[in-house]
Symmetry: C2
Subunit: 512 residues, 2 copies
C-alpha cells in the first residue's frame, strides 16, 4: 500500500504553475490541430498561403512558451530529486514529457522554427498539386528545403549511430535503426516466404468483386452507417473527405477523421474509415481528467497505429465482421454484391496482391511498402541519395520488392503526404503498429476468448471497452514500451504478427 505524499506549499505552488503552463500549451496545440484540419478539409485555395502566416505566428508563440525561462525554471524545480518523489504519477508523466520537449526544442532557434512551420504548411499544398498533376519536379524544390531543415534539426537534437535515429525517435521514443533492422529483417523474410506460398496457391480469391463501380453517395451512406456502430462517438467527432485520410484530435470531445471516396475503389473508403476510426477511438477514450495536460493524447505513433490496424485488420477484415455487416453492405450495393457470397466477399477483402499504393495494400505486402520508404529515408539522411533521385530510386525499389513498375509519380513517389509535412521517420510506425496490434490480439484472445463471437454479434462496444480499459484511457501516461509490457506481459516481438499472418492466410489460401 502506498501513501499519498502531502505536498509542501512551495511544491504545491510550483505544480500549479506547471499545470497552467501545460494547459496553455495544450490549448495552442489543440488550436493548431484544428487549423491543420481546416487547411486540409475546408479552407479555400486563395486563403491558405495567407493563413499559413497566422499558423506560423501561433506556432512560434507556442514554441516560445514551451522553451520559456518560466518553463525551464519550473521543470528544473519539479525534477529535483526530493521534489520529484513527492509528485503523483500523472504529474510525473506530464513533467517528464514537457521536459523532454523542452530540452529538444531548446536546440532549435525560434526563427528557424517559424520559417519551417510556414514552409511545411505551403509544402502540403504544393505536394497536393504536384500529386494531381503527376509533376514531381514542382514538388522537389520545396521538398529539398524541408529535408534540409530536418537534417539540420537532426544535428540540433543529436543522435548516436545513424543520423536517421534522431528522426525515428520523434515518432517512437527510443527507436533506432539498430533496433528496427532485426525486427524488420525477421518480418521481411517470413513475409516473402509466405508471399511465395500464397502466389503458388491455387485457391486465389476472386478479383472481380471490387473491380466494379460503387456509387459514391451509397459509399458515403454506408460509412456514415458503419462508423458509430463500430464504436466511434459521433457526438465527439466528425467524418470528412480528403485526398489522404487522417485523424486529428482537437480535444477528447472533438476528434475528426477523414476518408476518401472513389467510384472504382469501394474498399478504400470502408477500410480507410475503419482505420481512422481506430485512431479516433484511441483519442476519444483517453481519461477525461487528462484533458488540458500533455498526456491527453496517444503515447506514440506506433501504438496509435496499432489501434487503427487492430480495428481495420484484426476486426474489420475478419470473417466475423462481415458475417455481421455483409447484409447491410449488400443492401447498399445490391447490383454489385447480391450475387456474391459472404465467403467470396470475405476472401476477396483479404486478397494478397503486389500493388502500387501503400494505403490500399493488403496486410502482408503492406510492410514491404514501409520497408521501401524506410530504406529511402535512411539513405536520404545517410547522404547516399538526394531528393532529385527519388522517383528513380522509388521505382527501382517497387520493382525489386513487388515486381511492378509505377506508371506515374502520382502512383509512385508522390502518393504519400508525409514528406510534405516533414514526417521523415514516420513510416516505420505503420509496421510497428501491425506488430503491436498482433501482439495485443493474442493477449485479448486469452482474456476474452469469445472475441470473434462478439464481433459476429456486432458487440463492438465490448471490444472498444477492453481497448479503452487497457490502452486508450492511459493516454501518454506510459511510454510505448511500458504500455506493451503492461498489456501483453512482454516486449515487442515479431512472432505474433508472423503467427497471425500465417494463420489467416493459411486458411484463406488453403496453404498446407
Amino acid at each position: 500500500m502506498s501513501t499519498i505524499p502531502v505536498l509542501d506549499e512551495k511544491v504545491q505552488q510550483k505544480v500549479e504553475q506547471f499545470k497552467k503552463l501545460d494547459e496553455k500549451l495544450c490549448h495552442y496545440n489543440d488550436v493548431l490541430g484544428l487549423l491543420g484540419w481546416d487547411s486540409k478539409t475546408k479552407a479555400p485555395k486563395k486563403g491558405r498561403a495567407l493563413f499559413a502566416k497566422a499558423i506560423g505566428t501561433l506556432s512560434t508563440e507556442s514554441f516560445k512558451l514551451s522553451i520559456s525561462e518560466e518553463m525551464g525554471e519550473v521543470l528544473e524545480f519539479l525534477t529535483a530529486e526530493d521534489v520529484w518523489a513527492q509528485l503523483d504519477e500523472v504529474t510525473q508523466a506530464c513533467v517528464k514529457e514537457r521536459k523532454k520537449n523542452y530540452e529538444k526544442s531548446k536546440t532549435i532557434p525560434a526563427d528557424e522554427y517559424q520559417e519551417y512551420v510556414i514552409l511545411v504548411n505551403n509544402a502540403n499544398q504544393v505536394w497536393e498539386e504536384a500529386r494531381e498533376n503527376n509533376d514531381f519536379a514542382s514538388f522537389a524544390p520545396v521538398l529539398e528545403k524541408v529535408l534540409a531543415f530536418k537534417k539540420k534539426f537532426a544535428e540540433y537534437y543529436g543522435y548516436e549511430g545513424h543520423p536517421y535515429n534522431a528522426l525515428l525517435n520523434e515518432y517512437e521514443p527510443g527507436l533506432t535503426v539498430e533496433k528496427l533492422d532485426p525486427l524488420f529483417k525477421e518480418l521481411r523474410e517470413k513475409s516473402v516466404e509466405l508471399l511465395n506460398r500464397i502466389k503458388a496457391s491455387e485457391a486465389q480469391p476472386r478479383e472481380d468483386i471490387f473491380a466494379q463501380d460503387y456509387d459514391v453517395e451509397a459509399q458515403k451512406k454506408f460509412n456514415a452507417y458503419l462508423l458509430p456502430l463500430i464504436g466511434f462517438d459521433m457526438d465527439g467527432g466528425r467524418l470528412d473527405e480528403t485526398v489522404h485520410p487522417f485523424a486529428q484530435s482537437v480535444n477528447t470531445g472533438d476528434v475528426r477523421i477523414t476518408t476518401r471516396y472513389q467510384k472504382d475503389n469501394v474498399r478504400s473508403a470502408i477500410f480507410g474509415t475503419i482505420h481512422e476510426a481506430g485512431h479516433g477511438m484511441y483519442e476519444q477514450g483517453v481519461k477525461a481528467e487528462y484533458e488540458g495536460t500533455v498526456i491527453r493524447r496517444g503515447t506514440s505513433f506506433g501504438i496509435h497505429e496499432s489501434q487503427s490496424r487492430f480495428l481495420e485488420n484484426m476486426v474489420g477484415r475478419s470473417k466475423e465482421f462481415w458475417t455481421y455487416f455483409y447484409k447491410d453492405l449488400q443492401n447498399h450495393f445490391p447490383n454489385q454484391l447480391n450475387d456474391v457470397s459472404l465467403d467470396d466477399f470475405y476472401r476477396a477483402t483479404n486478397r494478397v496482391d503486389a500493388s502500387l499504393i501503400r494505403v490500399e495494400a493488403d496486410e502482408l505486402t503492406y510492410n514491404l511498402h514501409i520497408m521501401i520508404r524506410y530504406e529511402i529515408e535512411k539513405a536520404l539522411f545517410g547522404g547516399e541519395i538526394e531528393v532529385k533521385d527519388l522517383p528513380k530510386v522509388w521505382n527501382q525499389k517497387i520493382e525489386d520488392y513487388l515486381g511492378i513498375t509505377p506508371p506515374s509519380d502520382t502512383l509512385g513517389v508522390l502518393q504519400d503526404i508525409h514528406w510534405s509535412f516533414g514526417g521523415f521517420g514516420y513510416f516505420p510506425s505503420y509496421s510497428l503498429g501491425n506488430l503491436y496490434a498482433a501482439q495485443i490480439l493474442y493477449t485479448f484472445l486469452k482474456e476474452m476468448p469469445d472475441f470473434y463471437d462478439k464481433i459476429e454479434q456486432g458487440d463492438f462496444m465490448a471490444i472498444r471497452e477492453w481497448l479503452k480499459e487497457n490502452i486508450h484511457q492511459h493516454g501518454k501516461l506510459y511510454s510505448p514500451n511500458e504500455l506493451i509490457v503492461k498489456v501483453t506481459g512482454e516486449e515487442l516481438d515479431a512472432k505474433y504478427l508472423i503467427q497471425y499472418l500465417e494463420e489467416k492466410y493459411s486458411e484463406i489460401y488453403q496453404l498446407s
Copy 2:
C-alpha cells in the same frame, strides 16, 4: 501635389515595430475568426465546451498583446505630433484604430475579459438549445451573466448621456441614442404611413407562390449556382449551412458565409445567401496590401450591412435580377414555378407582410423589427427592464408594432443569435445598413445610369467592380462617416431610403 516624407531612422524602426505587432494581432484575430466559424458550423457537440477554454486562452493572449507595454509605447511614440505628420495615410489609419482599441481595452481587466470570452462561447450553445426547445428559462441565467458583463464594460468604457451609447459606439463609431432617435423617427413615421397605404391597396401580390415545399437539395444546387455568378469568389470563400446565417473572414483570400435551407421557405436560403455574399464580397474586395493590418476589414457594422443589403435588396429583389435568373430558378423548381409568371414572382418576392422573424421580414417592416430590439436594449441598459421580462416585453412590442403575437419564444425573443454573443448595440446597424445602401444606390445610378440594364444582362461584375472601387477596397481606411461622404457627397440622410421604398412599393402595389 504632396511630397512623400522621408522617415527618419528612429521613426522607421518604430513603424516596423508597430507593423509587426499589428500583424500578430491580425493573426490572432484571423485564427479566432476561424475558431468561431468552426464552432458554429463543424465542431461536434462534446468538444465545444472544452474548446471554449482554448479559445479563451487565445483571446486572452491577443488581448494582453493589444494592451501590452510595448504596444502602449509604440502608439505613444507614433502619435506624437511631429512623428504623426511623417506617417503615410495607411499607417495613420492603422495606428489610430489600434490606439482606439488600446485605450478601450486598457479599461477591462484581463481576467474578466477571459471569463467573458468563455462565457459567451458557451452561451451560444445554450441559446441554440433553448431556441430548439422553446425554453427561454434555460437561456435566461446565462444571458443575465452576459448582460451584467456588458453593463460593467459600458461603465469601464465610459459614455456621455445614455449608458447604451457605450454599446452603440462598439458597432458604429460615434453613434449615440441622441443621433439615432431622430433618424429612426423619420423612418418609422414614413414607414408606418407607407405600410398603411400598402395594406389598403387592392393590388396584393400572390401569397401562394412561396407557400409550397421546395426540395432542399435543389435549393442547395441553385444557391451553389447563383453564388459565383453574382460575384462571390469561390476560390476565396465557402458556403456552409447554419441555423443563423453569417459571414466570417479568415483573411482576404478566405471569406466564409453560411445560409440555411428550409423546405417550406425557399426565400430564406436564396436571399440569405445573396445577403451574406454581399458581406463576403466586401471583405474579399479589400486591397491585398492591407492584409496583415488592422484596416483589412470593413469599416463598420453599418457600412458592412449596407453592402449585404445593397446586394440582397437593391440588386437581388429587383425586377431585373429575376429577369436574368428566373428561368434558371424555374428549371430548379419546375413543379412550383413553371406556371408562375416572372411578374407574379417578382411581386411576390417583394410582398409586404407583418411577420414574426426579423431575418425574413420584407424591406419595409424589417426596420420596425430593428426598432423593437433597439428599444429593448435601451431599456435593459437604462435599467427599466430585466432579462426575465424579455419574453413578455418582446411579445407586447411585436403586437404593438406589427399587430401579431409570437406563438412561441423560438419564433419570438429567442430568434436572434446576437444577445448570446453579447452583441448589444449591434441591431441598429441593420437599419443603418438600409439607410446607407439607399443613399449609395442613388449615387450609383447617377454614375452608372444603366445600373439596372447591367443587372438584367447578368453583368454583376460591373456592379461588383464599382462597389470594390468606391467602397470595398478601402477596408477600414476611412471611418463610416468619411466613407459615406466620400462616396455620396453628403452625410447619412433618411430621405434616400424613404424615396427608394416609396418608388418601389408604389409600383408594386399600384399606389397613387
